[in-house]
């Protein structure tokens, strides 16, 4: 264990169940670094769904509720609703978040409830062995698209923006420094933040999509294909070249849901004290 691990990991849960060279472990580390920098470990409450990436939070010694496939966001809402001062963070995979869980993303974003969704995008369903995900590129051969994927990608960041998220970023495991910074920004953002992290999965994505199961190769692939570009109007071009725009895309201030709830409750109780029933 390195010192960060010594400080924050659940020793009795080790080793990580991730495969050798999996990006998920790197995300554990980057997140803990951000938490350490902010000194906010006691404020955290995490949720997760089902998938490899859903295990990221389990190894951290903080409150975590790991629920059903696709349902990490409503679980987070329940926790936040009852503990408004906690920093609630959801770890979810691209399948977990965009396939089965897509609707919850829309609705959490539109509510602008103060929480952070960290979506780990390894471009595949890894846990179940390499099936196509909504994030898999057109043409890719996976275990369920043996002749090439015909479905266009769902762009989590675009969807989050359309639904009303007030902070949206995308980075990769090859950007640990930026990632740490963005984590910190999100942890302090008042509202709904969405962070997509491109992450290597040597075993499934590597093997089926990229043609190599080597961790190094897969890590390098991310380095080569993630290009910083924060202007949405330039994304199409980058994407057309098979590359992935990364950066801090959006951060705006909007009324936050739990704060609005508190204001409403206050107002309603005052009105009632005055005798009106509405």
């Amino acid at each position: 264990m390195n010192p960060l691990g010594e400080k924050y990991l659940r020793k009795d849960f080790l080793p990580f169940l991730f495969c050798p060279g999996c990006g998920d472990g790197m995300i554990v580390q980057a997140f803990l670094q951000a938490v350490d920098d902010l000194g906010c470990v006691d404020d955290l409450a995490l949720t997760a769904g089902i998938g490899c990436s859903a295990w990221i939070g389990v190894y951290m010694h903080v409150d975590i509720l790991k629920v059903l496939h696709g349902r990490a966001i409503p679980a987070a809402i329940g926790i936040k609703a009852t503990n408004p001062s906690r920093k609630v963070v959801t770890f979810t995979g691209d399948g977990d978040c965009l396939a089965i869980g897509g609707n919850h993303l829309l609705h959490a974003a539109r509510r602008n409830i103060d929480m952070t969704v960290v979506m780990v995008n390894n471009q595949i369903y890894a846990m179940t062995g390499g099936q196509v995900a909504p994030s898999t590129a057109v043409g890719s051969k996976t275990q369920t698209t043996p002749y090439g994927n015909l479905e266009r990608q769902l762009n989590g960041c675009k969807v989050a923006i359309a639904a009303g998220a007030t902070m949206v970023s995308r980075w990769s495991t090859a950007h640990p420094k930026q990632l740490i910074k963005t984590f910190k920004k999100a942890l302090n953002h008042k509202g709904f933040s969405f962070i997509e992290i491109m992450s290597q999965c040597p075993v499934q994505t590597g093997r089926y999509l990229l043609g190599s199961g080597s961790p190094q190769f897969n890590f390098q692939w991310l380095k080569d294909h993630c290009m910083k570009e924060e202007d949405p109007s330039k994304w199409a071009e980058i994407e057309a070249q098979g590359n992935i725009p990364v950066g801090d895309f959006l951060q705006v201030e909007q009324p936050e849901f739990m704060a609005e709830v508190a204001r409403m409750n206050q107002r309603v109780k005052e009105a009632q004290a005055k005798g009106g029933d509405r």
Partner: protein
Amino acid sequence: MKKGRIKVMLGNEACVEAALLAGCRFYGGYPITPATEILEIMSRRLPLVDGLCLQMEDEIAALVAVVGASWGGTKAMTATSGPGFCLMQEAIGLAVAVEAPCVIVNVQRGGPASGQSTSTAQGDFYQARYGSNGDYSLIVLCPSTAQEMFDHTIKAFNLSERFRIPVIILSDEVVGHIREKVFIPDADQLTFVERKVPTVPMEEFVIFKPEENGVPLMPTFNTGYKSPVISQAKSLNGNRGNAKEAVENIRRIVSKIEDHMDEFAEVQVYGDEKAETAFVTFGSVCRAARSAVDMGKEKGLAIRSVEVKTVWPFPDHLVRRALAGAKRIVVAEMNLGMLQREIERVIRQPEIKIELFSKIGGIYPQPQEFLRFLEEKR
């Protein structure tokens, strides 16, 4: 006699009233007839007690948010009807697996599928017990009056906290939509159970080690225990369990309830307890059966009506006792014969045929029909 007040209330309203008294402070819901009033009234009432009522995007999100709120340290509930109850099944298993106390109301309507949204039915009898995957157990209560909607809701919260399980109130359209007088005891006249939280230092605490009563202490997220809570079969420390640990985990979450049934199981008998003719009923049908018993009495017919109030875990023992000596058993229910199967299982006397008086299609049975059934099928 208890102190309190009397109010004319909708069954669904009585449920809300009781939930708030029991300390429910989070409601996650989704509208559906005939349960919608629970959500609507909650949305009016919860803000007044600093609670939160959320209309979620669907029933799945509703129950998962309830589970989140429960682990957040709050008493929480949801309500729905058949189609939404289907969607909640996976999360019911979740609540069982993560041992999150919560209350789920199913105000039954006609099925299958969209069925008859404004009509009553009792077709979710087995679904309430077995609708989720795998081995599990939970408690299902069946009210038949607005008063019982109130009483059972208090009981449901207490049992959910006592056992750390989802408790289901299996109501139906008749009970949810009836308006009648409800006695609301003053809060100090009632007993409220709260989940037990750990007090030992974090390092010494083993998250899923049961106390003597089979239930582990609950380190909710407001206690500072930094709890790992996963939906998989787990070992005592909360990590994924191996096969042996999985066995222990599953057996425990089932037996913590089934070994303590005498704490809550309830079967009532109305009418002549020694009568040879017995109706067996649950939920709203109890009421019609009672009227039939009364009518029968007027005509000189001795009848008992056995009312199963806690239908799951099925109280074999109490039902057997309540039916002891009965020669003719008629199960009356608004489905095609579900409770009937349990009675067949429990009353293993081949000479007694377990008859079925079944009404479906949203047609609530009339007392006269019970008596006619007794005559015609003789």
